[in-house]
């Protein structure tokens, strides 16, 4: 596994915008998992103010979601004539014109071919923030202004549970057949009627060999007293509780709520013992590079992107397994240009386009055939297991089980309590 670092493609355009620590972070090839997550949180509280206030009269959605799902495909015909498309995605999560291997970004190609004018924004700083910002509108039955948003599994599950997503008209997305088998039927959307994966990634064991003094192959390292105060975890229950469940030898894809609450207890112990330095957002990677962490849960693409500059960083698939998560495209309820959104999904499920995207973002491509198409771009990327995982890798990867609202609230409260809030 000697990843070849592209052409600094993800850092070039960002460098000019940043200073001090942030520049450092960007130069280290930080991924789209925003280093601005925290400011996002701050902004969300401000932007969320009105949402909080109008929360006075939020209607329940449980009873209306079924009708939305059933009636949505009919409503798209009206939007057929529009030539606009509004996409909201995570930062640094799509190829740009200047860095494209063939000189044209995939967005440009899509626009030229379809005649659709795309407004692409990088407004998803965190799942929670995006939800907090638009919940009031969605709850009141108003459009968000976006035709596609990209959210991680658990938040996509919440959107579906609340009936905040439009059903995808599969007839408009013939390339959906290219979706890899492993992702075809997640528990929150078994037929993929509402969501299409954008990219996936692994949450595995990331460590600094300078500090560990050798290879690690078990999540036990997280509670090894040797690394006290030098251990990190990533926030959000699918990552934090998922990893602890693996460490306890449990299967996060089938674990009971009690198992999860048991994992939250272990999290509380890790925090109170001082074993855990901090529960991080995206900034865990800076802390690992700076030498403040010896061992941490980490996202595959981040480590891959930083190994050339920091050869002491390692990403392990521990013997207990790794978490695999997916960021999903979905069409928010009331989207004005639903048919165009489906065209966009179809376009990104062409193997050649998916390969171009994967070449840039370095996360796991959900499109079958992208691996073969990658050969035309760069041979060295074809056998990269972090982009195109093999069967053995996938069999060791666990998707966090979808929770219902009561379970999710209970678990969120337990995790909050464990982490001092």
């Amino acid at each position: 596994m000697t990843p070849k670092r592209g052409y600094g493609r993800r850092t070039g355009s960002m460098d000019a915008l940043m200073t001090v620590g942030a520049r450092n972070a960007a130069a280290q090839g930080i991924s789209r998992r925003d280093f601005l997550r925290r400011v996002g949180g701050a902004g969300a509280v401000m932007l969320g103010g009105p949402a909080l206030l109008s929360a006075c009269g939020i209607e329940g959605t449980a009873e209306t979601s079924a009708t939305t799902a059933a009636g949505s495909s009919g409503s798209t015909a009206a939007a057929g004539g529009s030539n606009q498309l509004f996409v909201d995605n995570w930062i640094l999560y799509i190829d740009t014109t200047e860095d494209s291997p063939d000189g044209t970004s995939t967005i440009d190609e899509f626009q030229a071919e379809s005649g659709i004018e795309v407004t692409y924004t990088e407004g998803v700083n965190s799942n929670e923030e995006w939800f907090g910002k638009y919940q009031a509108q969605l709850g009141a039955g108003q459009a968000t202004g976006f035709d596609i948003v990209v959210l991680t599994d658990y938040m996509a599950a919440r959107m579906l549970r609340l009936g905040y997503a439009e059903q995808i008209d599969k007839a408009n997305v013939p390339n959906a057949v290219n979706l890899v088998d492993a992702l075809k039927s997640p528990s929150f959307d078994p037929e993929r009627d509402f969501t299409m994966p954008w990219q996936s990634g692994f949450t595995g064991l990331a460590y600094d060999t300078d500090q560990t003094g050798g290879e690690l192959d078990s999540w036990e390292a997280i509670r090894d007293p040797k690394f006290k105060g030098k251990v990190g975890l990533i926030g959000g229950y699918p990552d934090s509780i998922g990893v602890i469940l693996l460490m306890q030898g449990k299967d996060p894809s089938t674990a009971s709520l009690d198992d999860m609450l048991g994992a939250a207890d272990e999290l509380a112990k890790l925090v109170s013992d001082g074993q855990l330095r901090q529960v991080y957002g995206n900034e865990y990677i800076d802390e690992l590079i700076a030498g403040n962490l010896a061992v941490t849960a980490g996202w595959s693409g981040d480590i891959f992107a930083n190994q050339e500059d920091s050869p002491n960083l390692q990403f392990a698939f521990p013997q207990e397994g790794v978490m695999i998560w997916t960021d999903n495209m979905l069409i928010p309820k009331g989207a004005a240009n639903k048919a165009n959104a489906e065209k966009w999904m179809d376009f990104y499920y062409r193997p050649a386009v998916a390969a171009e995207l994967a070449y840039w973002v370095w996360y796991v491509s959900p499109v079958a055939g992208a691996q073969e198409a990658m050969a035309d771009i760069d041979e060295e990327f074809v056998d990269q297991p972090l982009i195109f995982p093999d069967e053995a890798t996938l069999s060791q990867s666990y998707i966090f089980r979808a929770l219902d609202e009561t379970e999710e609230t209970t678990l969120n409260e337990a995790v909050a309590e464990a982490t001092g809030v």
Partner: protein, 299 residues
């Protein structure tokens, strides 16, 4: 004839003018009042009603007069409340100790370079809040200059000692982030002091320390009050510094509110905790301003 016909007409005109004049203050106040109503009174009212609701996103929220959210603040979140007040007090007190001499020096000793020093004070504010805070991660890193110096001096234990991800780093971040807001009002108050008052004190045989205590300090108190409030209030509600520089054993009320609102999606609890924190801070501010306003603190 003509005179009697004219007179009531003139009076009417005068009355109209008088009425218009009376309306002027209200017209001038209208934009401000409207702003207050729309962006303060109504939101506060809605925050209040939200805090008494019950429900979930799926079932909807209904006003039930449920006060459970309110009691939870004092049963569950006392440590976080204590942290918020401790950090805010610490940041205000240490900030004042740093800011007062700084403002004094700029006001009285920088001469024609005053503008330059003031801009130096303000330049960091041009860098976004988040990046300014992130910079402290570099300054306080385990292998950074400060930590290794403290380790060499034996103040921090060698192997396990650290500053980043501790309460000390949170305190440092809070002091730094609000230093300019503390310094500027004090500078403005000091800068306005008439030098002849100090000469008069000197003529009356006051030594420099007495002159400072009897003249300069009382005249600068309005600046000190503004500065301390501009530091204490936002510091008490801060959560970013804990997230970026602290760790989960040092969480503040702001972190609780953020988690309730964004992660747990418990809007009633978030509203109740916000209002409680607001009430506590307002009470402390009122007591403080009244005491300092009567100059009791100076006696």
């Amino acid at each position: 004839m003509t005179a009697t016909a004219d007179r009531p007409a003139r009076t009417e005109a005068a009355e109209r003018a008088e009425r218009r004049r009376r309306r002027v203050p209200y017209l001038l106040l209208a934009p401000g009042l409207l702003w207050l109503l729309v962006f303060y009174v109504i939101p506060m009212f809605q925050l209040g009603t939200t805090s008494l609701q019950e429900g979930t996103l799926e079932t909807g929220y209904r006003f039930t007069g449920n006060v459970e959210s309110w009691t939870s603040v004092f049963t569950t979140y006392l440590p976080q409340l204590r942290n918020s007040l401790l950090f805010a007090f610490g940041a205000t007190a240490i900030g004042l100790l740093v800011a007062y001499p700084l403002a004094y020096a700029i006001a009285f000793y920088t001469g024609r370079w005053k503008g330059l020093f003031l801009s130096l004070l303000l330049v960091p504010l041009l860098v976004p809040f988040l990046l300014r805070t992130l910079a402290w991660r570099v300054i306080l890193a385990d292998q950074g200059v400060i930590v290794s110096t403290l380790q060499t001096l034996g103040i921090l234990p060698d192997a396990t000692g650290r500053l980043l991800s501790t309460g000390w780093a949170v305190l440092a971040g809070l002091i730094y982030n609000y230093l300019a807001f503390m310094t500027l009002p004090i500078y403005v108050a000091l800068d306005k002091i008439e030098p002849r008052l100090l000469e008069a004190a000197n003529d009356l045989y006051a030594n420099p320390w007495t002159a400072f205590r009897k003249v300069t300090l009382p005249l600068s108190m309005p600046g000190v009050i503004s500065g301390t409030l501009l530091t204490f209030i936002p510091a008490a509600g801060d959560y970013v510094n804990v997230d970026l520089l602290g760790n989960r054993t040092w969480t503040m009320m702001g972190n609780v509110i953020q988690s309730k609102f964004l992660v747990i999606v418990d809007y009633p609890a978030a509203a109740a905790i916000s209002l409680t924190l607001m009430a506590i801070v307002v009470t402390m501010v009122v007591v403080y301003v009244r005491r300092v306003g009567t100059e009791e603190l100076l006696q």
